[in-house]
Symmetry: C3
Subunit: 139 residues, 3 copies
């Protein structure tokens, strides 16, 4: 069994944002030399997500508005978590909807994807450096 | 390390529906000859889910109504994504709640499940052919 | 490829509760002798979750209130699932938001975690014995 590990760093200028990281994951896969196995891609921070969906800017705005409705940022006093001095209580909730991680099959050296699958980093409490982990195992 | 790959195809006649695919995944496991490892089962489309829960029709209706409340299909104009000519903006949101994939342990040649766990394909934008990927790795 | 399997048992005294299981998973990893690979941690029951987030009691209260708002327990008659004689329809919905499982990378014999990541068991229908599965594969 071979394995490969790499971290990506992000510093999203706003509070929230989505970044397509598919080509970065493909680069890892190429460097790994692994042809068959699984790749795990996860947010290393608990106010961010890694998820798979469509690279369409209208959809990303829909996600942003929907998450804001399900778990509004304001008023920050609505979250007990924010009594610790944080203002990111909402981000911990949003991340549970969008998920921490994805696991993707690797077949013949490629991400074994359907026609529209793309991997995204989802930031819900940005304006600071945060990381994503890629771990590949296989042969 | 051994691996096995198979795709399932679905063409759900309505917009939404749930299909129990547990026995199909068990068949893959038998064909693979893998006794110990992990199986990934994921929707290859971004308006569908694979998830694990109970095979109880009342619960499935509860899921359907709940998802429709959290992310209503109508009016389709409420989603920016639908300005691209699609009418499935809601399906991209519903799929995030129910998830893209499951990873299940394989022990002694069986799905290592609790008493009620069953694997489902969840369709949120049907009436066309869509696929599910099964990827098994192990020994 | 090596593998390791262990179950944890929980009997949460109330209907809902969160338990930090990170050190229990670390103990499994030590016993496994696996230095590099993946660990799957999943609820074996369909009204419970395993998820990764912050060990902060205010946040856990926020999760509890938020989930209760998104999928209220009462009135139990609101869920078709409860016509089967159950009263846990809400728990099946809450578990979909929080997720069934996590997959974590293992690097140099450790859980390859960001600074605040902790693994939790989330109970949504307690007062009886329920189990969590840990499955580790790697070298």
């Amino acid at each position: 069994m071979k394995s490969y590990r790499e971290e990506f760093s992000f510093n999203i200028p706003g509070r929230r944002g989505f970044v397509n990281i598919t080509s970065m994951v493909k680069d890892c896969l190429k460097k790994s030399g692994i042809l068959d196995g699984l790749v795990l891609v996860n947010a290393m921070h608990i106010t961010a997500s890694v998820f798979i969906n469509d690279d369409e800017s209208g959809l990303h705005q829909d996600y942003d508005e929907w998450l804001e409705k399900l778990a509004p940022h304001d008023p920050v006093s609505r979250y007990r978590h924010n009594r610790t001095g944080e203002d990111n209580g909402d981000a911990h909730l949003k991340r549970q909807i969008m998920g921490r991680e994805v696991v993707v099959a690797i077949t013949k050296g490629k991400l074994d994807f359907g026609p529209w699958e793309q991997i995204f980093y989802g930031e819900f409490d940005g304006r600071r450096k945060k990381r994503v982990l890629v771990k590949i195992i296989g042969d």
